[in-house]
């Protein structure tokens, strides 16, 4: 197990270094940011002075060496837009996204597992069809449309929920529901498929024959065996929600990292883009390692 963990960490570090090089080069290829940070009426002399002061006039390899040198001292540089350390800007935005992702995953897993289990007990029943319908519908509806419709119906027409913001628990309901529908549908489908095959396995049939209650059978014995593909899916979905929360963050005005990263890319705020990539990559690598550990706990074969 330890050997696997060491290998995973080493792979993550190598991937991170590769990612840094790629992001650095690609972001610099987008062009000189001076056109975005100086008024359109600024003279050419002022633009050249700006590029010199920020080091954008240097060859790209020289800029990269400077960046790596700074990074070795945990200096991610300064945000061009906010004129303060890029890492502070990113770390300020990160908790909002993490909380959003955490609540979304909790809601999606709970809904998906419950729905999947219920559907698997009676394949072809109304609840089974509902679960399939939810999956297909959730996968087909774009997040931005769902978010705007949610606001129109529940905030403006019915007045039950606030339109946007994040200051009270009520503010979190619409964004979490919008974000969780798609993963919940996928999880429900995987749980359903996995459970149907497990519920037909000889050890379950034997347990049923010994008179074990259905609830205990499903949630204690079958679900643990059906969990492995679900854990894989939750890992993939978490990374996808982490990366894709930008639409929901924009519509509901969540000051999260997705929104920050998009605006930093459009603003050519290189230091913030690089710091955000590092922080997101670290989170995804950590998540993958945690998933590997959970695998080991659920499936003893993995430990060896």
């Amino acid at each position: 197990m330890l050997r696997m963990l060491r290998r995973r960490i080493l792979e993550s570090v190598l991937s991170l270094v590769f990612l840094l090089v790629v992001v650095f080069i690609l972001s610099r290829l987008t062009g000189d940011p001076s056109s975005l940070y100086l008024p359109e009426t600024a003279s050419d002399a002022v633009r050249e002075e700006f590029a010199r002061a920020k080091g954008f006039n240097l060859p790209i390899w020289q800029q990269f060496l400077t960046y790596m040198g700074d990074l070795s001292r945990f200096d991610f540089g300064e945000s061009l837009r906010q004129q303060r350390p890029a890492l502070s800007v990113v770390l300020e935005a990160y908790p909002a996204t993490l909380r959003l992702v955490m609540w979304t995953i909790i809601a999606a897993v709970t809904t998906g597992v419950l729905l999947g289990c219920l559907a698997s007990l009676r394949p072809g029943s109304l609840i089974d069809r509902l679960a399939v319908g939810l999956t297909v519908t959730a996968a087909s509806i774009p997040d931005f449309w769902l978010a705007l419709m949610g606001i129109l119906v529940f905030a403006i027409t019915l007045g039950w929920l606030p339109t946007s913001g994040m200051s009270t628990p009520a503010h979190w309901i619409l964004p979490v529901v919008v974000l969780m529908l798609r993963p919940a549908g996928s999880i429900a489908q995987v749980v359903r498929g996995s459970m149907i095959s497990i519920l037909g396995a000889p050890f379950i049939r034997a347990a049923r024959g010994r008179g074990l209650p259905v609830r205990r059978l499903v949630f204690l014995h079958a679900l643990r065996n059906a969990a492995i593909p679900v854990i894989t899916l939750v890992g993939v979905q978490t990374a996808s929600i982490l990366n894709g929360a930008v639409v929901v963050e924009t519509i509901f005005a969540f000051p999260g990292i997705g929104r920050l990263m998009i605006s930093a890319i459009l603003d050519r705020d290189f230091a913030v883009v690089q710091a955000a990539v590092v922080v997101i990559a670290l989170a995804i690598f950590t998540l993958n390692i945690i998933i590997d550990l959970i695998y080991g706990w659920v499936d003893p074969r993995v430990r060896t």
């Binding site: 359109e40 003279s43 050419d44 005005a253 459009l266």
Partner: protein
């Protein structure tokens, strides 16, 4: 008699109650699309910080009257030019900053010199002064002298855009706690969520109705509108033009012109008949009605009527596709390659109507015999093309141009001179344009206005580097009970003292 008196009193009370009284010490919530990147006055030249800070938290030495365009006293009570580039200002007595310190010449000098310091990265410096530099010094307790490195005949106007900050403002970097002299002090800034302004009790001027304003950052326009409907906000700025005519939706003219820049170095745009044909090929009013809900008017020149130097005699080219097609035929007959493919660049993400207008423009240009394809760009890539010479590019760029200073020099100096990257003119026009720009820049008063008008007329009718589409309107929504009259500066300067709350 008693009964009559009682009835009269009741009627008076009822009338008072029903007439609508305006609340003193009211609090309002304003939903805005964008959070400021910073709130230091020296970076308040862009819309997001300017709308919150200018005139509310920070005040300049002067202010520009939105009705007349005249520069009026604010923190300075009078001024005069002692010599070319040397200006003396007398500061208002009895004004204090929000930290209690007094406004005097030392404080004002420190604030002005700070924006030229290498230790503080101030964007307002380039915006307002370009390459010109100022040195401010106190010549008496309330007497301030500003010496420019090159003469600046409109310095008092420029200073209307520069809020004066307190001496306690850091000199080695930007601050996120701006301290000014305005009617409101910045109470808090919760990054990503809101900025709160509260009335400053010792403000030197009249006390406004609004005691507290909360600015909420909501990027999505439909959400801002919804917030007014649900009373989560009292005001929503920058709402969609489709809503014009709806309850509580206020329209206002913007100092913004939509321009099609013609990169005229290569054929077919190097031929003036082709450039002139483009002006006649587009149905401006039709597109304004079709795409902008009628919220704009056809433009005849690069600046709007709110800018000194605007030439009222210039006429919008008539929509005449037959004439346009004939001009193209003449050019083709003379060997101009009018079928060479041209790229029409447009900023795709700025608003929903930009790509629609671009597509309609391209179709109209193709209809007169040109060969145009539309390419939609994001902001940074558009900036790269806008700020470069168009050799071998065969490009038309659709972009919006603002002049908030109110003086044509801002537009002319950035776009007209052949040395500027945005200028696409060759030596044949540079010989006339470059010295004319210098001459207009140095002039004052009516002579200045006349010279800029002549220059703009020549640029519009003879050079034709640009074809103008329209000047636009903006829209905002207020809830019932809020009184506010927007003006052309509303997007950048939204004075809380102009709001009344019922």
């Amino acid at each position: 008699m008693k009964r009559a008196s009682f009835a009269a009193l009741s009627a008076a009370f009822f009338l008072m109650a029903s007439a609508g009284t305006f609340a003193q010490d009211a609090a309002i919530t304003i939903a805005v699309p964008e959070e400021p990147a910073g709130v230091d006055f020296c970076n308040s030249d862009t819309t997001a910080p300017s709308r919150i800070l200018r005139g509310n938290v920070g005040e300049g030495l002067t202010r520009r009257n939105v009705e007349t365009g005249v520069v009026e006293p604010l923190l300075a009570t009078d001024w005069r030019q002692e010599a070319p580039g040397v200006w003396d200002f007398t500061l208002r007595e009895g004004v204090t900053f929000h930290d209690g310190s007094a406004l005097n010449a030392e404080a004002a000098a420190k604030s002005i010199n700070r924006i030229f310091s290498d230790k503080v990265n101030c964007s307002i410096r380039a915006q307002l002064f370009g390459a010109n530099k100022a040195i401010a010094e106190a010549t008496g307790p309330q007497a301030l002298r500003i010496t420019m490195s090159a003469p600046d005949p409109i310095l008092p106007l420029r200073l209307s855009s520069l809020p004066i900050s307190a001496p306690s403002t850091p000199e080695d970097g930007v601050t996120d706690q701006p301290v000014g002299t305005g009617p409101y002090r910045m109470a808090s800034w919760q990054r990503g969520a809101q900025i709160v302004l509260e009335q400053y009790a010792d403000y030197w001027g009249d006390k406004p109705d609004v005691a507290k304003a909360t600015y909420l950052f909501r990027p999505e326009g439909a959400v801002r509108v919804g917030m007014v409907d649900t009373r989560e906000a009292d005001v929503a700025t920058n709402v969609a033009l489709d809503l014009l005519g709806g309850d509580g939706v206020l329209a206002y003219d913007l100092p913004n012109t939509i321009i099609m820049r013609l990169d005229m170095q290569d054929a077919p745009l190097s031929d003036i008949r082709v450039r002139r044909a483009i002006g006649h090929a587009i149905d401006r009013q039709g597109m304004i009605d079709g795409f902008l809900n009628g919220a704009g008017e056809p433009a005849a020149q690069i600046i709007s009527r709110f800018v000194d130097g605007y030439n009222p005699d210039l006429k919008v080219p008539e929509f005449d596709p037959a004439l346009a097609a004939d001009l193209i035929k003449q050019a083709t007959a003379d060997g101009v390659d009018t079928k060479a493919e041209m790229t029409y660049y447009v900023l795709g993400s700025a608003n929903p109507y930009n790509p629609l207008i671009a597509q309609a423009m391209a179709e109209q240009l193709n209809a007169i015999g040109l060969n145009v394809k539309v390419v939609s760009l994001e902001r940074a890539a558009m900036g790269d093309i806008l700020l470069s010479k168009g050799n071998n590019r065969r490009a038309i760029l659709q972009y919006g141009h603002d002049n908030l200073l109110g003086d044509a020099s801002l537009t002319v100096n950035a776009i007209f001179p052949s040395s500027q990257k945005r200028s696409q003119i060759g030596p044949e026009f540079a010989a006339m344009i470059d010295p004319a720009v210098e001459k207009a820049n140095a002039a004052v008063g009516e002579e200045r206005t006349r010279l800029y008008r002549e220059l703009i007329e020549y640029w519009t009718n003879e050079v034709i580097q640009d074809v103008y589409f329209a000047t636009l309107q903006g829209a905002m929504k207020v809830r019932p009970g809020i009184s506010y009259e927007p003006n052309f500066q509303t997007n950048e300067i939204m004075l809380l003292s102009d709001f009344s709350v019922e």
